[in-house]
Subunit: 238 residues, 2 copies
DNA sequence: AATATCTAAAATGTATACAATCTTATTTTA
DNA sequence: TAAAATAAGATTGTATACATTTTAGATATT
């Protein structure tokens, strides 16, 4: 007579389901399996992930609020293509914000947090060496996320996260797969400065690092149409 | 509950409809007609604006992405209540970002843009003198938005806008209606520095200004439940 | 009277139906 | 043949139905 408890495993999943779909789509974009400009149709995605358009719509809306996807009225969503002319602005924004952030973070990090960062950078190094580009890029982002968190200012960390994600999209659009930017070298130096509690050096290294990434980009126009089913059915991510 | 849809006049402009609802809800929050913590139920809002829950849901989702509203699973949306402990972080974030922005903007503004700003500040002054608090606060935001745009860096202006909107919510939560912060005095000085092309002075004034606003806040806990229909049916603006 | 349990109402979560709009292929016309 | 008109298909826009969950009130129990 009481409530019939359904299989809770399926229900638990539905809570995270949206998040999983969100990450999956973002990952595919960063892996350059979906080029900028590629259209994301609601029904196709719904079939792929086994949910209705309602859920997909929410995910696309979130991605559009983050600037990863563009939604035009009656046209639907497509991967954001950043014009060459906008690229430098994003990197300048990152220099300003992440420069200020790492200055605030310098000396604040505990030994535990520093160790955590170093092991993350180790992971990053492995991904880059094993040529798994997408994973490497996301891990690199994670390093920047963690540093942002160390500053102890949640709103600032939040806007930093946005810019970092958005920049990742730009990098995946303009960086050659071969030229993987050796980010982990720079990252190690950054963490050293953090540990030493040297704000000036930390800021300087961060600005140089962001500048360095910017200069690995080849700013030329390109595009490549793709089929949604192929991309999501075959996960190239070991 | 009568299902009478109260179509005011914005029935056919379905393209802008969502935007209008968004602004209407945000305005009501800034006017303190909806206190932090107040619940926003989808069906009630749908009836008020004469649309289905589908549209309301999109608006609430957008507001939640901007941090104005909090959505909890199975609980729906409620106006974000910022803990006292978080307030200073938001203002610090604004000092960092808007400080950098106005530095970039100094000397870049055309005569036309400067004049535009001055007339906007005039408008602001009138609103404050006529005690229309909500309008005054929004106009004040607009001044900061415009300055952010002058820096010529869209991504930075974007994160600035987010923080400014979010801070407006905080101000409406913690500032006494009487103490209206005389923002337009500071703003005039800011524009003078912009026109003179003095980055150091402009930055200094901006930091002081933001600090000044922060110090008009009375950081104590409060709350007040309200009825949605009353609020939206009677527009206290004018 | 206080607490616990159960039931009804209300709100959100999701899917789906149908309308409006855009896209594409085909046919018509000059 | 090329351009324009048109019709068929695909895609998004919106409303609504139904399921699930929460909330609140009533009833029962100690």
């Amino acid at each position: 007579m009481a409530k019939v408890s359904k299989n809770s495993s399926a229900e638990k999943r539905s809570a995270h389901q949206e998040q999983l779909i969100y990450e999956r789509i973002f990952d595919v974009i960063l892996d350059q399996k979906l080029a900028p400009g590629a259209r994301l149709t609601e029904e196709a995605l719904g079939e792929i992930f086994g949910v209705s358009r309602t859920i997909i719509r929410r995910v696309l809306l979130r991605l559009s609020h983050e600037g990863v996807v563009e939604i035009k009225p009656n046209r639907g969503a497509s991967v954001t293509s950043t014009p060459v002319s906008d690229v430098d602005q994003y990197f300048e924004a990152r220099r300003v914000i992440e420069g200020a952030i790492i200055r605030m973070a310098a000396g604040r990090a505990s030994d535990y947090e520093i160790n955590d960062l170093r092991s993350l950078i180790g992971e990053e190094k492995r991904y880059y060496e094993s040529q798994t580009r997408g994973k490497g890029l996301r891990t690199s982002n994670e390093v920047h996320f963690r540093i942002a968190a160390l500053a102890g200012n949640e709103p600032l960390a939040d806007v930093a996260r946005q810019l970092i994600s958005r920049t990742a999209l730009i990098i995946s659009q303009y960086q050659d797969a071969s030229q993987s930017a050796c980010a982990y070298c720079d990252h190690t130096a950054l963490v050293d400065a953090l540990e030493a509690g040297d704000p000036d050096k930390a800021e300087h290294l961060m600005v140089e690092h962001i500048d360095h990434i910017r200069h690995t980009l080849h700013l030329s126009e390109e595009s490549a149409p793709i089929d949604l089913f192929d991309i999501f059915s075959d996960d190239g991510e070991a």
